[in-house]
């Protein structure tokens, strides 16, 4: 049995050692040495420099604000989905998974097109209120970054909190009613404590995501606002200061590891919530007397619709516009094989590269992720928690850092993979397999261990029991995980931009290049490809039962 685990762990361990731990070791060496000596000098240099201290404080500040904004926008949604019924509720609930697979760069593009000073929202408001100047000034400010992060993360809050809220046993509320508790006391004393783990957990998760956010800050922050992640990019790709870049990566990783630890601790408590036999009672939103509560929720729904749909509709609309008229020319351009200066490659090559990388990285992430998930759920080895942390460590390292590490690690001999498509695919494998683990884990956990024991008592070896009993039962989970991995790889920009060499481009990098060059039509058409992939993966996840048990998809 133990020998079996070692054989199984060889797959992820080998892959991680080569593409994650070895490169990370190189960064550690660069960031902690000077003239061949081991020293803390680069770290001290960063921590003594007020520029970097400001940078670190700003990164934490924007993450905290983004988390608050995400909670403010996400929680009413969770309440609405839990306590009310309305047409299309299930669709809306399913849609909350979309931002997670929607590439951040498309969110940035959508924000520029919709909330920009000459964006659709301002032009609309100026025309109906006859204003001379744009009333909404959001972009290239902290507010813009925070709102874009909220766009991205509020649905995660909604989804996580709703899943727990709906599962709360109504009998416990009824017990408190029978004991004479009023509405407020019930909410504060009975409901809130049971929701608290979900609230904390989602907040912590959003905080980590936004702490490490790269594309949104890069494209919406302008020159004034940079986070650690953006600074690492600037240091290593523009200034070629590998020493300080590496040291900054160490600082960032140290912080994010701390946050991740806190998150995992709250998540552990999350699982202990009792599920009731009955569902929590709901009331129709649109029928019956219109109370103040309902009225507020309707206003919320209206604003949320504008907030979430505006940017996406803007991208779809702009992709069809060129030279002041409606046209498909932006899409025709996508199929062009001729060189584009904004891409450093041809549009068609760019699109093909993205698909190719997504395919290869998914083929890597699936077996690695499956092995890790299986180990995490089934193993009873002593020290398995430590092994598991080692296997999940890439979650705590930012995408930019992973991109840089892979660049350093794979460029030298004997591999000479630097800047190749394979290097990007390997980096994507590192970035996506933890999500394969996370979508497979609940599926494996939900599987009755008795089934495997039954198979074994009937003469099946452990391997046969896996292929004949477990595998058929997690096949849907695997498909969901694969779709997830493909979508994440297709939208990945941070590590890609670190690894890219001239002449090699992917769709998200192209979108960034085009929006930097103010080529909004072409950028939108490219982004629509990403949105299509997102929509497809969303549908697939939804149809394949990502909805199962509502909380089925965990992050």
């Amino acid at each position: 049995m133990r020998k079996g685990w070692f054989v199984l762990l060889a797959i992820p361990a080998g892959f991680l050692a080569l593409v994650f731990y070895y490169p990370l070791g190189l960064i550690l060496r660069t960031g902690l040495s000077e003239g061949g000596r081991l020293t803390l000098a680069p770290l001290q240099e960063i921590l003594a420099d007020s520029y970097y201290l400001h940078l670190i404080v700003f990164t934490i500040e924007q993450a905290a604000l983004s988390t608050l904004a995400s909670l403010a926008i996400g929680l009413p949604g969770a309440y609405l989905l839990t306590r009310y019924t309305f047409p299309g509720k299930e669709t809306i609930r399913s849609l909350t998974v979309v931002p997670f697979v929607l590439p951040a760069i498309t969110v940035a593009l959508g924000f520029i097109l919709f909330f920009g000073n000459s964006g659709h929202l301002n032009r609309f408001l100026m025309s109906i209120f006859h204003l001379a100047r744009p009333p909404v000034r959001l972009l290239y400010s902290l507010r813009g970054i925070v709102l874009a992060h909220a766009f991205y993360n509020a649905p995660i809050v909604t989804r996580m909190v709703n899943a727990v809220w709906e599962g709360l046993d109504p009998a416990i509320d009824e017990a408190s009613i029978s004991l004479g508790a009023g509405r407020l006391r019930r909410f504060l004393g009975i409901t809130l404590p049971r929701l608290a783990p979900a609230l904390l957990s989602s907040a912590a998760l959003v905080f980590i995501f936004t702490f490490l956010s790269f594309p949104i800050v890069l494209s919406l922050g302008g020159a004034r606002y940079a986070t650690i992640e953006v600074e690492i990019y600037t240091l290593t790709r523009t200034l070629l200061d590998y020493r300080l870049g590496s040291a900054l990566i160490l600082v960032e990783t140290f912080l994010s590891l701390g946050f991740t630890y806190l998150y995992l601790r709250t998540e552990g408590r999350f699982a202990s919530t009792t599920r009731g036999d009955r569902e929590i009672p709901t009331q129709p939103l649109l029928r019956g007397p219109l109370t103040i509560g309902k009225w507020l929720l309707l206003v919320y729904s209206f604003l949320a619709a504008i907030f979430f749909l505006g940017p996406i509709v803007s991208i779809l609309a702009d992709s069809l516009r060129a030279g002041g008229g409606w046209t498909f020319s932006n899409y025709c351009e996508l199929l062009s094989l001729s060189y584009s200066p904004f891409l450093g490659s041809s549009p068609l090559h760019t699109v093909l590269n993205s698909f190719l990388i997504a395919g290869i990285s998914t083929l890597i992430a699936l077996p690695v992720g499956t092995a890790v998930a299986w180990f995490a759920v089934r193993s009873r080895l002593p020290g398995r928690r430590i092994i598991e942390s080692i296997l999940m460590a890439p979650l705590a390292v930012s995408s930019v850092a992973i991109g840089f590490a892979v660049l350093r690690g794979l460029s030298g001999s004997p591999l000479h993979l630097g800047g190749t498509l394979l290097a990007i695919a390997l980096a994507h494998g590192i970035l996506t397999y933890p999500f394969v683990v996370r979508s497979l884990r609940p599926v494996l956990e939900g599987l009755d261990v008795g089934l495997i024991e039954a198979a074994r008592s009937l003469g099946a070896s452990r391997v046969r029991a896996f292929f004949e009993v477990e595998f058929p039962l997690i096949r849907r989970g695997l498909l969901v995980a694969a779709v997830f991995a493909i979508a994440l790889s297709m939208g990945e920009m941070s590590a890609t931009i670190m690894l890219m060499r001239p002449g090699l481009s992917t769709i998200p990098v192209a979108v960034y290049g085009l929006l930097s060059a103010r080529q909004f039509g072409a950028a939108s058409a490219m982004a629509v490809v990403l949105i299509a992939v997102t929509a497809f993966s969303f549908l697939a996840i939804d149809l394949l039962g990502g909805r199962e048990g509502k909380g089925g998809l965990r992050w």
Binding site: L451, E453, A454, A455, R456, S457, G459, L473
Partner: protein
């Protein structure tokens, strides 16, 4: 087939789940392991099946060491509490799972035989989700029996079923076990089930076997207070041996002196006495008599249970059927019981 379990131990973290348990199972014997939940009885079963490894001890099957054998090679059938039917396979494929690759067995015929045995002909193509819980457990039984194991382990197989179904399946399990000459170990927390089914019962408490013996021995001669309580004896008295009168022991309980059959305990020994509900006679017959007051009367259909307040404390008497001439609540009765019906357990 003969199974020997020798001093097996298993701890989970700091909790000792199985503590030096030894017993033997003879060919075609039906042994129940009876105990409260968490007493370690299921763990014993899982150790025999090979799903867990013991920390110490030995398990022998016909003198052959079982521990180095992986579970799939032990040829021991296992029936799970929650059935554990493969949800993605039909009933027929579930049953065939253990015999598909056995050339000596004609899979198709074996499946039919077993469906006949558990009376589920015509269910071949159903999926587990389309079965009732009783049907599911019968399929689970058939599946475990398909590879013709000589030993079958059953882990509370009936506990998820309602009372009526439990009783009918219980006799079916016993019938099948005798029909195909199988040895079986049956884990349960239901003493009635254990008494009805078993050749022998092992009563388990906190990871140890308290007593192992025939249902009669367990019921009439429990050796520890735990066994006596768990098997359902409710009239429990604490007392001290004070001497001997006419080949009987005298035990002082509170202010009362009771006559108890001689057990060889020395004077001054502190003892616990149990008197079975059905051994209390309301007509006052027996060597011991006392006046008691009726507190409550519960009709059970086939029996009547009378709760009494006596100088010995609360007592419960059970009489067959209903008796018309019972005094009402608050009424006085003379309660009697024979000295030989008193179960005496010396405190250790």
């Amino acid at each position: 087939m003969k199974l020997s379990v020798v001093e097996i131990e298993k701890t989970f973290g700091t909790i000792s789940a199985v503590d030096k348990v030894s017993f033997e199972l003879e060919r075609r014997e039906f042994l129940s392991l009876l105990g409260p939940s968490g007493c370690g009885k299921t763990t014993i079963l899982r150790l025999i099946a090979g799903f867990e490894r013991p920390d110490a001890g030995q398990i022998l099957l016909d003198g052959r060491k079982l521990l180095p054998v992986p579970p799939e090679k032990r040829q021991i059938g296992f029936v799970f509490q929650n059935y554990a039917l493969f949800p993605h396979m039909t009933v027929a494929r579930n049953i065939a799972y253990g015999v598909r690759f056995d050339r000596r067995i004609d899979t198709q015929r074996r499946v039919e035989e077993l469906l006949d045995l558990v009376d589920l002909r015509g269910f071949e193509r159903r999926r587990p989700a389309e079965l009732s819980s009783g049907q599911s457990q019968r399929v689970a039984l058939a599946r475990a029996l398909a590879p013709k194991p000589e030993l079958l382990l059953l882990d509370e197989p009936l506990s998820a079923l309602d009372a009526k179904l439990r009783e009918s399946l219980r006799s079916e399990i016993r019938r099948i076990q005798q029909e195909i000459r199988l040895s079986a170990i049956y884990v349960t927390h239901d003493q009635e089930e254990a008494l009805a089914l078993s050749d022998r019962i092992g009563v388990i408490n906190e990871g140890r076997i308290e007593q192992i013996g025939t249902p009669k021995a367990i019921y009439h001669h429990p050796e520890t207070t735990f066994v006596a309580s768990f098997i359902g004896h409710t009239n429990r008295l604490e007392g001290t041996v004070i001497g001997y009168v006419d080949e009987c022991m005298q035990v002082k309980v509170g202010r009362e002196l009771l006559l108890v059959a001689d057990s060889g305990a020395a004077s001054g020994t502190r003892v616990t006495l149990f008197i079975k509900e059905e051994d209390l006679h309301l007509d006052g017959s027996g060597k011991n008599t006392l006046i008691a007051q009726v507190k409550r009367i519960e009709y059970r259909g086939d029996a009547t249970v009378i709760a009494l307040v006596s100088p010995l404390g609360s007592l419960r008497a059970r009489i067959a059927g209903t008796k018309e001439d019972l005094p009402g609540i608050g009424g006085r009765v003379t309660v009697g019981f024979e000295e030989k019906d008193v179960i005496l357990i010396a405190d250790s």
